[in-house]
């Protein structure tokens, strides 16, 4: 009698050579699917430098206001007028109660425009602000 075990004659290995390809695909998928919230900035600005700066931990909370050399104001994605800021920020605050406004203001600007923006923000009761600045070397 033949007690020899029956074995399939085909190769029993799992082909792993394409595993890195699968991982690459995954990597690429995530790279493409993740959008690092990039905003097109329409104004030219150069940030001031400071020493006692802190990191903003929670990036989701941030709204940006740019003020360029020319005095143009950009709020998140659009160029806005000064008197529009209050309404837009108020709506923003309703959605996101503890929004932080990052002020990216050109260092050659006048304080006048800064004060005006601050007043608008106060009226919209978005009170957490952050004067964006670079670390002084």
């Amino acid at each position: 009698m033949n007690f020899k075990k029956k074995r399939a004659k085909s190769n029993q290995e799992i082909p792993t050579s394409s595993m890195p390809d699968i991982i690459f695909m995954l990597l690429l998928f995530f790279m493409v699917a993740t959008t690092l919230r990039e905003v097109d900035v329409y104004v030219k600005f150069k940030l001031p430098e400071a020493v006692a700066i802190e990191k903003i931990e929670n990036k989701r909370l941030i709204s940006y206001i740019w003020v360029g050399k020319s005095g143009r104001i950009q709020l998140n994605d659009n160029i806005v007028e000064l008197d529009e800021i209050q309404d837009i920020m108020y709506k923003k605050r309703v959605e996101l109660p503890n929004v932080i406004v990052s002020l990216r203001i050109d260092k050659e600007s006048d304080m006048g425009v800064v004060t005006d923006i601050q007043q608008a923000l106060r009226k919209a009761s978005t009170l957490r602000i952050n004067y964006s600045s670079m670390l002084k070397q």
Partner: protein, 177 residues
């Protein structure tokens, strides 16, 4: 005829099972080493907007005013000062009030002209924040013997909120008549 024996073929294979590990390592390396640009800046809380201002009397003891005019001249309590000296000057004043109750802590009020350069304002504000931070750090070293960043959240709260709170006031813009 001599039978020519067929040579047995040796399979040549590159072991590639570990390739995925290498790719993972690469991926992890880049994940860790890439820093997405962080937002840095000077944080501040604005006061609430009120139509009618209540005037609260503040004793002169508590108040330090920093005024910057359009030419970039800086006054600290009505005396001319250079911006880099502000923090040294303030540090003593803050330190002397560490153990006072919170209603007697130092208030630094900063006021500018509409035509003051924004950069100067940030430099002055930076000096004020720096003075407070250094006092906080020194206090933490003195009392807990640790750096501020190594304190437990409760200890940190005591230092930052109770002992050396940063009270910076942005002067209300005056109405132009």
């Amino acid at each position: 005829m001599v039978q020519i024996k067929k040579k047995k073929e040796i399979e040549a294979k590159i072991p590639d099972a570990g390739m995925s590990d290498i790719v993972f390592l690469l991926l992890l390396f880049f994940l860790v080493s890439t820093t997405i640009d962080v937002d840095t800046g000077i944080g501040l809380g604005l006061p609430e907007y009120q139509e009618e201002q209540e005037l609260v009397p503040i004793s002169k003891e508590r108040l330090v005013t920093v005024n910057i005019n359009e030419n970039g001249d800086v006054l600290l309590n009505k005396e001319v000062i250079a911006i880099p000296q502000i923090s040294e000057n303030l540090k003593e004043r803050i330190e002397s009030k560490i153990n006072l109750p919170s209603k007697k802590k130092l208030i630094v009020s900063i006021k500018t002209d509409r035509r003051t350069n924004y950069n100067l304002y940030i430099q002055a504000l930076d000096q004020i924040v720096l003075a407070y931070s250094e006092v906080q750090e020194a206090y933490s070293q003195q009392v807990y013997g640790k750096a501020l960043s190594d304190l437990t959240p409760e200890e940190k709260k005591i230092v930052i909120k109770e002992k050396v709170p940063k009270i910076i006031s942005i002067a209300e813009p005056e109405k132009i008549n």
